[in-house]
Structure formats: structure tokens, C-alpha cells
Amino acid sequence: MMALCTFPFAGPVSKGVGADGQKHTILASQWLGGTDLQCHLDFKNKQARKKSTVVHGSLSEREEYHSQKPPTPLLDTINYPIHMKNLSIKELNQLADELRSDVIFNVSKTGGHLGSSLGVIELTVALHYVFNAPQDRLLWDVGHQSYPHKILTGRRDKMSTLRQTNGLSGFTKRSESEYDCFGAGHSSTTISAGLGMAVGRDLKGRKNNVVAVIGDGAMTAGQAYEAMNNAGYLDSDMIVILNDNKQVSLPTANLDGPIPPVGALSGALSRLQSNRPLRELREVAKGVTKQIGGPMHELASKVDEYARGLISGSGSTLFEELGLYYIGPVDGHNIDDMVAILKEVKSTKTTGPVLIHVVTEKGRGYPYAEKAADKYHGVNKFDPATGKQQKSSSLTQSYTTYFAEALIAEAEVDKDIVAIHAAMGGGTGLNLFLRRFPTRCFDVGIAEQHAVTFAAGLACEGIKPFCAIYSSFLQRGYDQVVHDVDLQKLPVRFAMDRAGLVGSDGPTHCGAFDVAFMACLPNMVVMAPSDEAELFHMVATAAAIDDRPSCFRYPRGNGVGVELPPANKGIPLEVGRGRILIEGERVALLGYGSAVQSCLSAAALLESRGLRLTVADARFCKPLDHALIRSLAKSHDVLITVEEGSIGGFGSHVAQFMALDGLLDGKLKWRPLVLPDRYIDHGSPADQLMEAGLTPYHIAATVFNILGKAREALEIMS
């Protein structure tokens, strides 16, 4: 498969060489299927020969991939797709191999999404070879598989900055490059956007192609059908590439093994891959030959010819009914095949919408990814030679895990509790719940709208549904929250993970708006834990609230280290009651959710400078703890509300109440600290918090500024 043995080995041989002149394995022999490695290495020139005895097949080292990045002579000549146009198919294959190793080595240093990019190496090469980006529009659904695309479109030298502050985005981004014609992060948007681009092109009289690449997972979302339906109706010329790797949910495995794809679509796609009619035809032909006699191969080729005519009508009814012309399935790792098909479709005028069903393998070409149950979908930095990922050491677990454990504890004592998620069993922690309660965990595929109304239906029957959907993904199901849940006052519980800033995934995944859009709903109870113990209690509280909907938000990241309730069982809180954490004077910080921790840090900073602040944890945004707010407003000169959310959230609700209650008519100075009115780019959590102006230092500086101590404010910020 890979011509790895022809690469001259230019780098220093020994990495971690033992004192006894240890072996340095490039490839274990079983990976190459036992082929002779005589052709492998060229130790001339710089290497100290004494260090380098290569022993292939050193199984004890278990290295199934390069430990050093192999040379990429062909890829080095490609900066933009235009440099690919004169390559032969053979060279395209070599380019694919080099591109693959480039992706692996880049991601090994930065972390990010790996498996999906590896699955589309050949597809990316074929697309850029046949089409002329950026005039031809190439759209990548979700965008996390766009790493090879970025490398081929002028961003190879920036790959080391991937997902970091001021670096390349981990998804497609219009402002980053003209080759990224549509930004993504959430799924299932590309057919819609592509159709818009196709119609726009036609209205403007242009002639470019539009190609949208979408995965089988993203195909489970309703928007994909809305788009295909419209595309079929308009009969616009565009190409949809269905990248089918049979991985529908994330991670693509639960704790105990690969997850069978959810939904009926996967079965339909599988059946498309069956060769039954062709095979049966051939079997019949064999039988016929036996009777007639004559050279088998001649007849076989005639059968093939006839077969072509016969089976051409066996396209997929599903897509054809929607008005898309179906071609496939196609081997997504065969550049030859894909180039042939793409060229032919491109050269056919006025095709209307065409869907090319491409079958790929997630993680292809990196043995550890291929073997892993989750196909190395998202990885930390890792060692390419062994596949071992860096484990971040932390004394506490993630809020995600704590949520799952809390829900399990509740479900142990209440048979009616069920959990629902939208293709995010790992990301929401519900894989743990699934393992404990296999019949009470529902994965609906990428279908947030359906998940919410489905939960509403369950609630009608007396079940207690917990919908675990990321804050930003819940945006997709918002009308269902309003119309199906809140309006009818159905007790659906929403567990919103990834609230606030999320780090390297960037603004598409940032949960900035959930406080605003949930707290404005008349019947919704809205709360946020300030630490993991509070999370356990709020899960219990939500379980106990059975007459109206409720929600709670928690951030990405790990707990702060407080003691957990015994047996993971929280105690329901009194609804609409906050708590005071530190009693101080003059200045009160009223935090909501994880911001409370920043408030505590700010108070510590100010304590050392002679100010003793009051710090309170609001716990509830709706209903607000009126007594607490009144007391703080009346006994302090300054009240600062802090939250990691947009305007219109907690601070706004507090202001509304205070205004109506007359608390702002006196000498109180109120200031809100919220996320700024702009999107915060991807980066490290610390950088993002800095950019947002919500670090403890910013809070402390705000206090100083209000107190008229500008100099101290500047000091603390430097």
C-alpha cells in the first residue's frame, strides 16, 4: 500500500536509543505483511553508523508507523491546487501517501481531529485535481476533515498553529482563506449552503462547479433532507459527495466497542453497497457457460457489458426520489476511480444535482486509528510511532463525567429517568449511562430538534427525560424548546455541557447564548453549578422538578476539587435560592455558574490588597433569589454580576429585577461582566478568557476602577 520503504532516511536515526546500540524500528514487519525491507534505508552522509542497526520486525517495540516524518518530495512542490494539475494518477497516489503522513505528523504535535481527515485524503486529492478551487466551490460539512484540504490550499506551513490562539481554525473558516468558501463546525449545513451558492452562481451568470462533501453521520440531520428536497426541486447543477464511513455517532464507539450506526438510513446505505444483483447475474452466467461451453472469460466480459445496461437503473430510490442522480458506491480510497467519475460528471453539462456515494474508512492509513474503536476521531498530541496519546493529568474529572455519574445515581432510585442525546454519547458522558441502563439511553443521531420534541413526548407519558445537548447545539432545537416544551410546561430537563468558552474548538462550539435564550422563557427553571458538587445537586434538583421544564449549564473542563456528595447522590436545592460564599463589605460579586470561581479568585487577589469582598453564588437565574439580591444591593455600594455568557443573560435578569424593585434608585453602583459583543476565536481557554475580559484580574481591576482606584486597576492587570 504505502511505498514507505523507498524513502531515504534523512533524519537522525536514534531517538531514545539504548546504550546497547538499540534497534530503531521503522515498521514492524507484520504491517508490511512480511515484505522484505532490504530496500528501506539509506544511512549515508550524516548518521553515525554505530547508532543505526535497523532490525525490522522488532515486535517488542510495537511500532507500526514511522517515528520520524518521512520526506514528502512531491507534497513539497504543491502549495496550491493549481500545482497539482499536471500530475499523473501515479503521482497523485504518491501525493496522497505524503499528504497522509503530513496530516498524521502535524496532528501528532497539535492534537485535533485525525480519523476523519485520514478517511478523505484520496477524496481531497481527487477533488482538487479535477476541480479548480477557489472558483469552483468546495464545501466541507462540519469541517473537521478539512486538514488535508488546508494543507493543499496554501496553509501547510501554518499547520503547527492548528486550533491554537491566532492560528489555523480546526474547521473551515471564510475569513481564513478564500479556499474555505463556507465556515462550519455544526453539521449538515453544506448541501443547503452549496445549493445557495449554485443558485447564486446561476443568477449571476457564472459557470463554476459547486461540490458539497457531507458524511453519513451528518446525513441523519433533517437539514440535509430539506436541502436535498429543495435541490431536487430546483434541479440546480451541483455535486453532493456522501462520504460514507459507517460512523454516525461520536465517539464512534461506546465504552464496550464500536457503536452500530443509529437510524434506518445506515441500513439503506448498506444495502446500496450490496453487490447482490450483479453477483447473482454472474452466477447465472457461470451456470449458462457450463452448459454452452466456450472460454469463460469471453462470456464473462459479455455478461459484464449486459450487466451494465441492466443494473444502471439500480440507483438509490431514496436519493432519486428527492431528485438527486445517484452514482455509487465508489471506493473512496481509489483515486483512479474517483478522478474518472468526477471528471465525467464535471464534463456533463446541466446534470442537475448529482449525489456521489463514496465509501471510506475513518482513520485509514494509520494503523492505530484503524484499529481503535473510536478511529482516533479527536486526539491529544500523540507519538506517531506508537499511537500513544498524551494523557492530561488532573486530580479531578471532567464535568461531563460528573454529570453522567450524577444522572446514574438519580436513575438508580427513579425508574422513570431516561437520557437522550444527539449522536454525542462520548461528548455528553452518556455512554456511561448507556452502559448502566442500556434500555434507558436514547441516541437519536444528529437531530437536536427531534431529540427535544421526542423528550417532550416522553414527558407526556410520565417519563423523566434528561436531554443532554451541548449549549451551542441546543440552538438547533430552539423552537422545539419553546413551542413543544416550555409553552406546554412539560418537565423536560436540559443538561447543557460546553457552556461558555470552549477553547480550541472556537466560536462554533462556544456556548455563549444559552442563559439568554433559556432564561427568557416563561416556564423554564434556569440554574448553573459553580462547582462539581453543585452539579450533582442540580441534577437532583432537575430530577425533582416535575411540573415544568428546567435546565442547567456547565463548562468544558474539570472540576475544582470540592468534596462530592456520598454515593454520587445530590440533594435537591431549594429552587430560587442562592448562597453567600464569603461575607465582606462595600463590594459584592454575584457570580453565576463557573464564573463564581473567577469571583473567588478575584476576591483572593483583592484580599491581599486590603479589600474584603462579598462573593455570592446565584445558583439560579430563573427564578432569581430576590431576597439575596435585595440584601446585597442594600448592604453594599457596588454590585458586580459575572457570568460566562452573552448580554441578555443573568446580568440582564438581575438588572431587570433591581430596576423594578427600586434597588437602582439609590447609591448602588451595578456593573455587569459578560462575554463581549463579538465572537471569541479559538485558542487556549486561558487566552480566550483573557480576550473576553473575564479573568480574575479583570474582575479585580473592575472593582478598583469603580472604587476610583485606577492606578491599582492598572497594576493588577499588568
Binding site: 510495537r62 464500536p258 453487490n275 450483479l278 453477483r279 451494465r308 442522480y325 471506493d331 446541466t350
Partner: protein, 118 residues
Amino acid sequence: MAVVYAPARETLYQVLGIAENGTVSEMKKAYREMARKYHPDVSAPEMREEHTRRFIMARKAYQTLSDPQSRDLYDRNLATGKQGTEEERGYWWRIRWQAQLDELQKRKQTVPTTMSRY
């Protein structure tokens, strides 16, 4: 019968290293040998994961092929391409999409271009 979620690189016969018309006793012998070689309890710690995988594959192959009913079902699936090797699958797929491309060309020659689409 468990469904395989990656394109099968080898048939169950190839896993055991026997011919497609192999007898049950040949199968037994092959399986025993593989079990001896790959059983996790006799593997060196660093090979355990890989050997466990092969052991499980071998056992699955033996279980499927040693039972006449499941073997028959498997053989039929193999014949109709549901569990073929990658090369075979590629061949059949190629025939199909070439036909689909031909059809697309033909279609576009007969369908009149619409005057105004929107």
C-alpha cells in the same frame, strides 16, 4: 451474526488459512493451532492486544464456519458480495458506477434544457 463494520480485508476462510471447501476437521485443526498461538494467556504482554484481536477473529471464524447452517449463510453472502474482499467489491462497484455514468450522459441528451429554472 455480528456485522463487520470495516471493509473485510480477508474472508473468514482466509482468517483460518483454509480453502473455501475445507472440511470441518481441517477447520478444527487450524483453529486449535491459532488458539494455541494467539491465546492472550500465553502471549507476551506487549503482544497481548494484537493477539487477542486475532484470537477473537479466529474464534469468530471457527464458530461461523463449523456450524453448517451459519456456514451456508456466510457462503451465500460471500457469493452475493455482502462479505467479499476489497478487490472483489471494487470490481463490482466499478461496473455499477460506470453504468450509472453512461445513464447520466444519456439522460442529459434527451432531457430538454429548461428555459428558466427559478
